[in-house]
């Protein structure tokens, strides 16, 4: 891969099993700064587990993950500090229901980065404006639509100034008419140079925004390529079959 640019994630021989069930088997890859890696694959293939391993929400059962040069799978490593630099967006948003939108966004910067309230709120408002939700600053999550919640979840992560953003099926829980607004925010983010790793079923989005598409099946990366090649000339028979079903 692009060896000249900075490597954010260096994944070496990553394994994960739940009891007898092997979900990830010896996965090795690198994710460099500025890349938008889109992970596709059938359900149950391990793609979400792979993504969640990157910030150690799933603890690997084997192998190493270097983030910005440090082995975050080392028990001595302070994972909380590294997670501040790894934003994550979930399928089901997971906004904090007992806090307003603004409080959702300023909690972590104030408590973890020791920002002042004004500083944190100024940054939050700026991000809210970027996604067109500044008038929702004092609303509670329950008063928002799914698409709005997901846009807030994205900017909540951005408030921590992460070096990379992980997206775990960010549009899968949304009504169809709300998918676009979330994908737009993500496209903007990609255009702004954010490094992103995205698990999604939105093939159109993958083709348009991704810089590299990764096909994970049965715990292995079966194929990875540029979007153009990936969709035009798939090699792996499983990928061919998968694409014929989803395209």
């Amino acid at each position: 891969m692009q060896d000249n640019s900075m490597v954010l994630f260096d994944i070496q021989d990553l394994c994960k099993s739940f009891g007898e069930l092997k979900v990830l088997e010896h996965i090795s890859t690198r994710i460099c700064q500025g890349e938008v890696v889109v992970i596709v694959g059938p359900s149950g293939s391990g793609k979400s587990t792979f993504l969640r391993s990157l910030n150690l929400l799933e603890e690997p059962t084997g192998g190493k993950i270097l983030f910005e040069g440090r082995d975050i799978t080392d028990p001595k490593c302070d994972i909380n500090r590294h997670r501040q630099k790894i934003g994550m967006v979930f399928q089901h948003f997971h906004l904090f229901p007992h806090k307003t939108i603004l409080e959702n966004m300023t909690l972590a910067p104030m408590k973890l980065l020791k920002k002042s309230k004004q500083e944190a709120e100024a940054k939050a408002m700026q991000l809210l404006e970027r996604v067109g939700l500044e008038e929702k600053a004092n609303a509670y999550p329950s008063q928002l639509s799914g698409g709005q919640k997901q846009r807030i979840a994205i900017v909540r992560s951005l408030c921590m100034d992460p070096d990379v953003m992980l997206f775990d099926e960010p549009t899968s829980a949304l009504d169809p008419e709300m998918v676009g607004e979330v994908l737009n925010v993500m496209s903007d983010l990609a255009r702004g140079g954010m490094t992103m790793v995205i698990v999604t079923h939105e093939m159109g989005f993958a083709k348009e925004v991704g810089t590299r598409i990764m096909f994970i099946d049965e715990g292995h990366i079966k194929e990875e390529n540029t979007p153009k090649e990936f969709f035009a000339n798939p090699v792996n028979p499983r990928l061919k079959e998968f694409l014929s079903k989803v395209l």
């Binding site: 909380n80 997971h94 909690l107 408590k111 329950s142 992560s157």
Partner: protein, 233 residues
């Protein structure tokens, strides 16, 4: 009507007998209040230990041992009558005559209540979606910070009604204080009865006082519930 007036005079006015009830009321309130505070504090700590181990959030052997101790504690406290616990505390644990009966009662009911409060808190913590936890951790919060800022405020809101009901139960349970000769409402009323040989007014009066207190508390709880429901969430 004339009979009632005479009875009332005999049971409550003559020889200042109302004082038994008034003093008893003070004891009932202070035992309930301090036992509740103690119960919340200890119950919350137990719930934290229990839910941390339940979630598999810690591999620490120390916590697992602590969890084992908590489980034994919950089993013993919830598996024996409060009355026996009170008698054991008074006659066995604090057999010295220098210990105030009120302190014994507060400790007993506090320890008793803590077991129930712990399970209420634990169910509250476990009822919060795992995703809330992951969202907190993914932002960089530690386990403890996630608990403090994200999980417990929501859990507390969810269990407030159950918690309030536990304290209403606690209030009524303190009526066994008389068994260690501590004058609460019940014991006060019973003392009057033994002096006047008149069971009706003292006992019905005591019952009425409990009923009024419980009604006031219940009204408070349902107001609280309504407010929590309308609160934007």
């Amino acid at each position: 009507m004339q009979g009632f007036k005479e009875d009332f005079y005999l049971n409550f006015i003559k020889d200042d007998r109302w004082r038994y009830i008034a003093d008893g009321l003070g004891t009932t309130f202070s035992v309930t209040f301090f036992a509740a505070v103690f119960g919340i504090f200890l119950g919350f700590l137990i719930a934290l230990v229990r839910s941390t181990v339940d979630k598999g959030g810690s591999k620490s052997v120390f916590l697992k041992v602590l969890d084992g101790i908590c489980k034994v504690y919950l089993t013993v406290i919830r598996g024996t009558p409060a009355m026996i616990q009170l008698l054991i505390m008074y006659y066995i644990v604090f057999s010295s005559p220098n210990v105030s009966k009120q302190v014994v009662a507060i400790l007993t009911f506090g320890l008793n209540s803590a077991a129930y409060v712990a399970e209420i808190f634990r169910s509250g913590i476990m009822s919060i979606d795992q995703g809330q936890f992951e969202a907190g951790r993914s932002l960089g919060f530690s386990y403890a910070q996630t608990m403090l800022y994200i999980i417990t405020p929501q859990a507390f809101k969810n269990v407030l009604p159950a918690l309030a009901n536990e304290f209403i139960t606690l209030l009524k349970e303190t009526s066994i204080c008389g068994y260690i000769a501590l004058t609460d409402i019940t014991h006060g009323a019973n003392t009057i009865r033994s002096q006047t040989y008149e069971p009706y007014l003292p006992l019905l009066g005591a019952a009425l006082i409990y009923l009024i207190i419980v009604c006031v508390l219940t009204a408070g709880v349902s107001r609280l519930e309504r407010r929590l429901r309308t609160d934007a969430r």
